[in-house]
Amino acid sequence: MTALRWAVLILFAFLVNAPVIATLATSLKPPGEIMGNPGSG
């Protein structure tokens, strides 16, 4: 049951923070790549 609780917690944390994570990932890319394809990869 504890493992299930941790799995739910991690999934929920990922879902609610998805745009924050995507923004963080994009902020780490060089400007050229962001202009070319900001979202993927």
Binding site: V16, P38, G39
Partner: protein, 253 residues
């Protein structure tokens, strides 16, 4: 706007309830009112249900590792307009990571902002941003239930679902009502994240009442109608809240 001078304020010519009649005849007003009520109700119910479940289910972990709440409540720190911009990037048809990976893994990706899907998209976004708020409220309410009460209930044979249904939930009922009311109010008055994400949506499909008022005022130049709609919105809000609080007072705490 630029043609409105102070003379208008000095010698007003009132036309009674003409602006109100115009608004009440406007189909877009009723559509936006319907959208706001549907959106407010649906998001409030989903956020409260999900927040309550998560607060109770994750209580053993969150009570031991309180710092995890900081991660879970991070979306609340983001301004709703910024959240709308972030999701605009994340869900973008050509450059967004969500359509990109859905296409790569499953070979297809829904058009999240298409007229048929956009209502559910904005509902999910609102629920994801504000469920942490209800989770936080229920976490505090759940943690504040006295250990002695739980112990007494256990001695009477209560456990599991029965304990939650008969002992814990009734003690969290005031929090439940407050969370539902706050989230409903926030849902009905939703403006910035939807406006940034979709504008008013295709064919006004995501036009909430505040967006209707804004577009009537600033885009349409129908200042009288916009203000009449604002007054109607305030009156409707007052009526709904008065009924809600009256109902809440009748419920045993």
């Amino acid at each position: 706007m630029s043609e409105v001078g102070f003379e208008t304020l000095r010698a007003p010519q009132l036309e009674g309830f003409g602006n109100f009649a115009d608004v009440l005849r406007d189909e877009a007003f009723w559509d936006s009112l319907g959208f706001s009520l549907r959106f407010g109700t649906l998001t409030a119910v989903l956020e409260v249900a999900l927040g309550l479940f998560l607060a109770v289910f994750l209580a053993p972990i969150l009570q031991r590792h309180a710092w995890l709440l900081a991660i879970l409540t991070l979306p609340m720190m983001v301004a709703p307009a910024m959240m709308g911009l972030m999701y605009r990037l994340v869900l973008h048809e050509f450059v967004g990571p969500v359509p990109h990976y859905l296409l790569a893994w499953f070979g297809t990706s829904p058009a999240f902002l298409a007229p048929g899907n956009v209502f559910w998209t904005v509902v999910v976004i609102e629920v994801l941003q504000w469920t942490p708020f209800t989770l936080l409220l229920f976490h505090l309410a759940y943690g504040s239930i006295s250990g002695e009460i739980r112990e007494a209930a256990r001695m009477d044979g209560a456990k599991g679902w029965w304990m939650f249904r008969r002992v814990e939930f009734p003690m969290m009922l005031p929090t439940f009502g407050v969370a539902l009311a706050i989230r409903f109010i926030d849902g009905v008055r939703v403006f910035d994240n939807i406006y940034v994400l979709t504008g008013a949506g295709a064919g006004g499909s995501t036009m909430s009442l505040p967006i209707y008022i804004y577009t009537s005022f600033f885009r349409g130049g129908n200042i009288g109608a916009a203000l009449a709609a604002s007054v109607l919105f305030a009156l409707a809000s007052f009526l709904i809240l008065a009924l809600a609080w009256r109902f809440a007072q009748r419920r045993p705490a």
